[in-house]
């Protein structure tokens, strides 16, 4: 099998086509536009539909329509566009429609700037739209994962009948790395619930409205049960040197790449540093944190945000271990050296506090 040097954003579209995606409705925004452009190129050639919508509001509602018609469908956007899509994402979760949304994040709030931040975490992972729903969120940290997690995203979206967000930062979207594409080509069957304009699907209804309180409550409980199932079966994380790590670095996306470099260097210096990288941001790998915390002394969260995933890490550890936080925002990336220095400081501090314990 050959490896292809390809940009993350383009890899998403090729993987989507292999995964059976035959609809793309989008609106341009940096740094996600290459996805929309690649979809414009390939969708018509593979018998799919590409349409540049009049807004992200329209685009996500087009996903609603295509998905209702039983097509594997996706869109791509970034911060400001994802904000506009929240309406449709809530409707799709409510109506139990699968779709894949690629969020190639940029810096905010407002127009912010087009460089990378990880500040969409709250609006994506916590469900930025209205109502009791969640999206499943996958966070690739390499171009290969742009491929693998895109394919996974379509499968999860169908399995859970729910929107899945592929959340990558601008770096992962813009960079090129060699990837292997899956050999398998998916040809999805028409879902039995779809409304496809045929006799067999005539009695089907796609809707998110439940006028009766009890029926809506039952529906929400049903959605929750799906999310609970996702928590049990779909949680993914990568660990590096965690078996004996005293300091555990936590980050996702491009940050995780930097953390891996830092950990390797710290190890070379004899420091017991490990990395825990959430791959699924929802469901969050809480159990992994709990397990690793039995040995680790301190967790260091590094984020290109003001501490959004940090909250989930704190919830997962529930006060059992200290959680330190290193933040860069505005499009700045924490440098390898900056993180290393921060880690060295934590190691020192934790050694000191141990001495105190011994003395006391």
């Amino acid at each position: 099998m050959s490896r292809h040097l390809i940009k993350g954003n383009e890899a998403i579209v090729k993987a989507a086509v292999l995964a059976g995606c035959r609809g793309f409705y989008g609106y341009p925004i940096t740094p996600a536009s290459e996805i929309t452009e690649a979809a414009a190129k390939y969708m018509p050639q593979v018998g799919g539909v590409f349409l540049q919508a009049e807004s992200e509001v329209a685009a996500i509602n087009m996903l609603y329509g295509a998905s209702a018609a039983g097509v594997r469908v996706m869109t791509a956007s970034s911060g400001p566009g994802i904000s506009l899509m929240q309406e449709g994402i809530s409707y799709m979760a409510g109506a139990e429609l699968p779709c894949v949304v690629a969020d190639i994040t940029r810096a905010g709030p407002g127009l912010g700037n087009i460089t990378s931040e990880q500040s969409d975490y709250h609006q994506v992972v916590k469900g930025g739209g209205h109502g009791n729903y969640r999206t499943l969120v996958l966070a690739p940290h390499s171009v290969q994962e742009m491929v693998d997690l895109t394919v996974l995203a379509f499968d999860l979206a169908d399995r859970y009948r729910n929107p899945v967000v592929l959340m990558a930062d601008g770096f992962i979207g813009q960079m090129m790395e060699p990837v292997e594409f899956p050999q398998a080509v998916t040809e999805p069957a028409l879902p039995r619930w779809a409304v496809a304009g045929t006799e067999a699907t005539r009695t089907n209804l796609i809707s998110s409205i439940f006028l009766d309180n009890d029926k809506l409550e039952a529906h929400i409980r049903h959605l929750e049960a799906k999310y609970e199932m996702a928590r049990r079966h779909e949680t993914r994380a990568e660990e590096l040197y965690t078996e004996d790590a005293e300091v555990v670095l936590v980050g996702y996306g491009i940050v995780a790449r930097i953390l891996k470099a830092v950990a390797a260097e710290a190890r070379a210096d004899g420091l017991r540093v490990g990395v825990l990288r959430p791959i699924t941001l929802f469901p969050f790998p809480t159990a992994d944190f709990v397990r690793i915390a039995t040995r680790a002394k301190v967790f260091v969260v590094v984020e290109m945000s003001n501490g959004q995933m940090l909250e989930d890490v704190r919830l997962a550890l529930n006060g059992t271990r200290p959680v330190e936080f290193l933040s860069r925002v505005g499009g700045n990336v924490p440098s390898h050296h900056e993180v290393l220095a921060f880690v060295q400081k934590q190691v020192q501090l934790s050694a000191q506090s141990e001495e105190v314990v011994h003395v006391g």
Partner: protein, 485 residues
Amino acid sequence: MSDDLEMQYEVARSRPEAFYERFDRKDELQHQTHYCPGCGHGIIHKMVAQAIDELGIQNRTILISPVGCSVFAYYYFDVGNVQAAHGRAPAVATAVKRSRSQSIVISYQGDGDLSAIGSAEILHAANRGENISVIFVNNAIYSMTGGQVAPTTLLGQRSTTTPEGRSAEREGYPLRVSELLGALEAPVYIERVGIGDNKQIAQAYRAVRKAIENQVRGLGFSLVEILSTCPTIWKMSPVESQRWVHDVMEKTFPLGLIRERTKDAQPHETPAPAPADLRKVLGIADQARIVPHQVAKSATNLQVRVAGFGGQGVLLLGEILAEAGLNAGLEVSWLPSYGPEMRSGTSNCHVRISSEPIDSPLVTRPDVLVAMNEPSLHKFYESVPPGGWVLYNRDAMPGECKRTDLNVLARPFTQIAKDLGDARTGNMIMLGALIECTGAVPWQSVDAALRQMIKSEKWLELDRRALARGRELMREPVEEAVHEG
């Protein structure tokens, strides 16, 4: 006249096949609709159902219901049903139709839904000429939410949010959406009708049927605006309501044909079938590469930063280097700067080539800095660690760059390229020098990368010559770093 009466009888009394016999999706009173007595929605639903019957399209029909009093249209229509967000029905309909071209998609919308919150979606669906049928029920008010002003509310008409009546200064004028859409090229059929009396109802039915039939014939975008009644919010009897449509609404919203181009319309094409070989279309069919064992004997870990003006081939240089590394069986990463710098005309990229998996693709301490202009040299000069290389596109380093712990090759690469045949191959000369000084990738994998990426024979030749020249420049005897005064 008697004809019309008969038609109206048909519309009003018998149950069309496209209606359910019992409304099981309703929670209670499943033998009657949820509409108020005399509500226009009930009458218009029957028109739509009857047209579906007459055209024999029940199995193919997909009804998009809006947000408004007709949100529950799916209680009644025995067709495929999709309920859409407020105002978004035309976007939903667009994708349903494009996904299932054999289906007949009817977007049913109220005037708040279509002319206010959904004004962008209807405008663009119409402008794209989507092959859908829109039934636009204009009752001049937001009914479902209890009677607030709509863009279509008449001047002087009271609503809960215009308690003194609509004024042009405050709320603007009643929006004539059909006329607005009539200004577009794409729509094939737009007509405004009413349900003010039996005659109007008969005409309304013909229009509804035509709008749907146009789609069956593949002709394109059709919209029927129906001036409708809302006795409850208007606080009128059903009979008074009909009269109000006839005597008052019509003055602001004149009935009649606004667009009729069905004669010249060409049936929409159905999309082409999917190709057999997806991988080929995607450009990811297996390709032969140079086998790894030919090369990369020792451990490799090269970090490069390339920087210069846009148009100097900064990104391409990096890409060819990365592709060459891949050809040599190594791990590679290439990361461009894509920020605001792009606008200011400079660009740079990070390239890593390694025999081990690459952790961070960000290069903060480059082993080699390729500086294609002076600002780039200044920006990254200090980041090069001792023993690193700087390739600089001038015949001498600027005076302030005095480090003695670096290897430097300062040459006017762009000028040399010009002498060689084309100034634009300056990047390739620098790449040649880089390959030579690092030895990170073998020459044959660089050549293979060139062949993969440069499709024109002329450019391939120029680039090969440039690479060779770079190699020579690097091999020339090392001299002391020259500094500009």
